[in-house]
Symmetry: C2
């Protein structure tokens, strides 16, 4: 049995898919944050854990190709991170070539078999990239939470806490979004909310994004303004890339689940749009297509993602 | 000889002033960050160092009153911080009552002898406060860099780095503000700038504010937009307080030096405005006025600040 491996390594979770030569997914695995830009060498361990789970009882030596999509361009440049990955593959018994690509490439592949176009990702972070012949071209944003990632889940969650703190001028928490956030944080004063926020690791604010989206869907005006602004920022990021020569693929939890952000982005785009629901399977397909011809690859894409 | 002590404890520096009963400043001291909200008990040590320098060879037992202005409302609530201050005063030989007040009170006192009005502070952080009978009333913003402090020096510096990273789409750094920031950071790629920013303590971004103000004064359009937005955010923060029943005092480096932010704020305000140039002297005056009558206090104000 010939197998391929695909990995999607994100700031919140790492997902691995093992597929057979006919495109059948034979195993899936999931572990913690696998973004080496933020997690460093520990990212390799998370990814390795997800890979082990996906392999299950399959022989690692049967894997003939692997593709790993990770955020950040300069990962391979850090020798510590590269060494951690090499160790991890060896420990998992993997002997085939494993290609590290930008997560934009795997996210794009999970939305389309086309070689070129653009991908707009809004998960914990946010980035847009032109894809040309399955390589990353020009990118926009993706600058991390401190400097950018505008419209991402972390951005949305942090904005919501900011807005709640700013609106909380009296003794009691304002109804609506601020009250939901205070409940989430377990606080009953504004100072306690500020203190709570100051002690959270930045990525934890992304956990508030579903709460904001739910409030917006329920008609909360503040939450609605925030999700609209997130969509506007994401569209501006995508627009920086110019007109793509292929479909626009939407990726990341904020744009693949039925959120108000996705709805607003879809309503504004007048180009062909597809959705990247399973980037790990997209990565596995990228691995598989290196072993087969174009027609077969297109057929397998329809089957796998 | 009877002496009074005044301290202004900020997020960047602590300043102390020792004055005689006739309002003559007889000593000044300066040390590191003295904001217990961010620096914790170490703030007491910074303040103590500034006090020792201000006292010089004067007898600490001659100090009959002290006022310390510190950021944050809940300082006294933390027993560790209160104990650190008590130890510090004892170590400096101070035996008189020392009153801790919000830094808004001392900043206001440094701008006017009036008991009521409002103060707008933009230093490392940003906050507006109504002052009634020399006590803090309603406040706006002051939420810290993560959630607010909109229009502050830190906000301005961080925005400038964000804008520079966002504008840096090609291989070479764009001229103007991005180039100045790249030079300040000692970087020649966008990724290096992002990396640099991610390793700075947040307060360090405030050090970029003078650079942004200088670029705006030189006509740089991006810097001009950022300083205009800082002014607009500060004015919005002040406007949250409603119409003050007294003068508006401008405080903090961004509003007391001749910056484009100050110019824009002054141009927009149509109420009586004064400037708080020496909050430590304002604190010393507050200490002195507890020892004298109202007419004498007003005369001493003109002399001291």
């Amino acid at each position: 049995m010939v197998l391929v491996l695909g990995v999607d390594a994100g700031g919140t979770a790492s997902r691995a898919v093992v597929a057979a030569a006919d495109g059948t997914v034979v195993g899936r695995g999931r572990a913690g944050p696998g973004n080496p830009t933020t997690a460093g060498p520990a990212a390799a361990r998370s990814i390795g854990t997800a890979v082990r789970e996906a392999l299950g009882d399959h022989d690692p030596a049967a894997v003939v190709a692997g593709v790993v999509g990770v955020a950040g361009a300069a990962i391979a440049a850090d020798p510590r991170v590269a060494a951690a990955f090499a160790d991890e593959w060896a420990e998992r018994g993997l002997t085939c070539p494993i290609t590290m690509v930008g997560d934009a490439v795997t996210a794009f592949a999970a939305g389309t078999a086309a070689p070129s176009g653009a991908v707009l990702i809004a998960g914990t972070g946010a980035v847009a990239a032109r894809i040309g012949d399955r390589r990353i071209g020009r990118t926009a944003d993706g600058l991390g939470w401190l400097l950018g990632d505008e419209g991402s889940g972390l951005w949305l969650g942090l904005r919501a806490v900011r807005s709640a703190a700013r609106a909380w001028t009296g003794r009691t928490v304002p109804a609506g979004l601020p009250a939901r956030i205070a409940e989430h944080a377990g606080v009953d004063t504004r100072d306690a909310l500020v203190h709570w926020a100051g002690r959270r690791p930045p990525a934890a604010f992304a956990a508030l994004a579903p709460l904001v989206c739910a409030a917006a869907a329920d008609g909360d005006p503040l939450a609605g303004r925030l999700t609209s602004e997130a969509a506007a920022r994401l569209l501006a990021t995508l627009a920086e890339l110019g007109t793509p020569d292929g479909p626009v693929v939407l990726a990341g939890g904020l744009l693949t689940r039925e959120t108000p952000v996705r709805a607003a982005v879809l309503a504004a785009l007048d180009t062909p749009v597809t959705t990247s629901r399973d980037p790990a399977a997209g990565a596995a397909w990228l691995a598989l297509r290196t072993t087969t011809g174009p027609a077969e690859a297109a057929r397998l894409h329809a089957r796998m993602v």
